[in-house]
């Protein structure tokens, strides 16, 4: 299980933090399930899953490509490769109304510029909305992915600037202010069930809905994860160590990203 050299992994045999993050995210996707894929790490993770344990993962990109199976990693959510390999290409209205809003997607992947202790996400602006310190791209498909996918997995690198007590702007609702908030808001999916970072994995406490550190990646300590968090991060009593990437996972990942 340790990352020893293998004929399949020609380059450094130890996975770096981003690779552990991506492999951990890929493993969270069950074979045969459907996944709403954003660009960047989510797309890498989903495509990795499809090439390892989940060949029948059904990837939906918001450009309207249903069941895409690209040979290479797309740069955008609308690369031609996605349309060419999709089971069906539908208008953007349909992907949002007939597929996402109707609750047909099992897992939504989201990134974040800020995420708070209840898994709420900001991708709109840092600081005051009307005079922002940093203007971010905005909502895109995220609010409805967060609302309507069966569950949400967040992939984001961990730092105190990103993991904040309270997001400056709630672009996408996680667990709101705590238990019952999603139900009150009429959000149908379970919301963020896992936040996968470069240090470990956070999951909402079943009772309080606050994110708790449930796993650290190999070589990472709970204290390191707590220091990279802007709130007083709780640590699960049965804190696990994330299983390291298998050599074949790493090899496939590196063939995808062009590293290795």
């Amino acid at each position: 299980m340790t990352a020893t050299a293998s004929p399949l992994s020609p380059s450094p045999s130890t996975a770096d933090a981003d690779e552990v993050m991506t492999v951990t995210a890929a493993r969270a996707l069950a074979d045969g399930s459907s996944c709403f894929v954003g660009i960047g790490l989510p797309s890498t993770a989903a495509n990795l899953a499809r090439r390892t344990h989940a060949p029948d993962l059904w990837m939906v990109y918001e450009s309207g490509t249903l069941g895409a199976s690209p040979d290479t990693l797309p740069l955008s959510i609308g690369d031609g490769e996605l349309a060419e390999t999709a089971d069906s290409v539908v208008p953007v209205t349909e992907v949002f109304n007939y597929w996402l809003q109707a609750g047909r997607i099992d897992t939504g992947f989201l990134g974040a510029a800020q995420i708070d202790r209840f898994g709420n996400i900001n991708t709109t602006a840092i600081g005051d909305y009307d005079a922002p310190a940093v203007r971010l791209p905005g909502a895109g498909g995220a609010p409805e992915i967060a609302a309507s996918c069966g569950r949400v997995i967040v992939i984001v690198r961990q730092s105190p600037r990103t993991f904040v007590e309270r997001v400056d702007f709630t672009t996408s609702v996680g667990h709101g202010g705590g238990p019952g908030d999603r139900e009150r808001l009429g959000l149908r999916g379970a919301g963020p069930v896992r936040v996968i970072t470069d240090l470990g994995v956070l999951e909402p406490d079943p009772a309080t809905r606050e994110l708790v550190l449930t796993s650290v990646h190999p070589g990472v300590t709970a204290e390191q994860a707590r220091e990279a968090t802007g709130w007083d991060l709780a640590v699960a009593p049965d804190l696990a160590t994330t299983p390291a990437p298998e050599p074949h996972e790493l090899a496939v990942l590196r063939s995808l990203t062009g590293r290795g």
Binding site: S63, L75, S76, G78, P91, Q101, G138, A139, V173, G186
Partner: protein, 286 residues
């Protein structure tokens, strides 16, 4: 009906207009955007789900007063720096924002296309967009009592899209990822379509969307007009150009020089096929 791009833009796009240039990653009408810049249009309300580099350029060139959008980034690369500079620093002029989600924008176009004043969706609940965006209001289902979100129809003065082909009567054919272009065209008062080519007969193609000529105000042949975006079946997305835009857009001086060389330097109407926009990429990234 079939007009050179400069004449079509001159006739169809006016100062102060609400302009929707659509194309979801694919078939983005980039050259038409450059022509709007060349013609010095001002005070536009620019509408687009994913502003992308074409709006970054138009905003940087000072065409826009207001932006109605849902995701303002450089897809797969990062930020749009001209957009950021306008929002944060008001350069070259302040930019008002009206922000929605993709789902909200798509449904706003659909309502506009359908002649309805508003659309209903499960969206926005619990987000700070609700307080910030006056064009999001609650609506109650008269049958179940559920509360949902209402958004008003988008009915731009003019829609501009790019397509693969048109016939000589102005019927337009596009295929591949077709996004919300049909809805944008149907929602608008006027519509300009730039195309890769004008053909005698539109041979049916799987996945095609056909826009009948009666909803198209003008067709302009602009081969390569979507570059560095792509036209399925004609050329692929120039991902390097998107990456290279980051450095150009990041710096006001570099952007201004780029604008002078690459947009105004090509003045006098749309570029001809022997100097397709994509060929400028090397200079642009230099």
């Amino acid at each position: 009906m079939i007009l050179p791009l400069d004449r079509a833009v001159a006739e169809l796009v006016r100062d102060g207009d609400t302009v929707a240039m659509e194309g979801f990653t694919h078939l983005i009408p980039v050259e038409a955007g450059h022509e709007v810049i060349r013609q010095g249009r001002r005070d536009l309300t620019l509408v687009r789900m994913t502003p992308d580099i074409v709006y970054d350029r138009m905003i940087g060139a000072g065409c826009a007063r207001r932006l109605v959008f849902s995701w303002g980034g450089n897809p797969g690369v990062g930020s749009l720096h001209r957009f950021r500079d306008a929002v944060v620093n008001g350069w070259p002029r302040p930019l008002e924002l009206e922000e929605h989600s993709h789902a909200g924008m798509a449904n706003r176009y659909a309502a506009g296309a359908a002649g309805l004043p508003f659309a209903v969706l499960r969206g926005y609940a619990g987000t700070d967009l609700v307080g910030r965006t006056p064009t999001i209001k609650p609506i109650t289902c008269p049958f179940t009592g559920e509360e949902l979100a209402a958004v008003p129809a988008l009915n731009p003065d003019v829609a501009i899209v790019h397509a693969q082909r048109a016939d000589r009567s102005g019927n337009v054919q596009m295929w591949g990822i077709t996004g919300v272009q049909k809805e944008a065209v149907l929602a608008a008062d006027r519509a300009l379509v730039t195309v890769e080519e004008v053909v005698d007969e539109l041979e049916p193609v799987p996945g095609q969307v056909v826009l009948p000529s009666r909803v198209v105000s003008a067709v302009s042949p602009v081969p390569g007009g979507a570059r560095p975006s792509y036209a399925h079946g004609y050329y692929v997305r120039d991902n390097d150009a998107y990456r290279a835009w980051d450095a150009v857009g990041r710096d006001r001086d570099r952007f201004t020089a780029w604008l002078r060389d690459e947009v105004f330097g090509a003045a006098g109407g749309p570029r001809t096929p022997d100097r397709a926009p994509g060929e400028d990429r090397e200079e642009q990234t230099a």
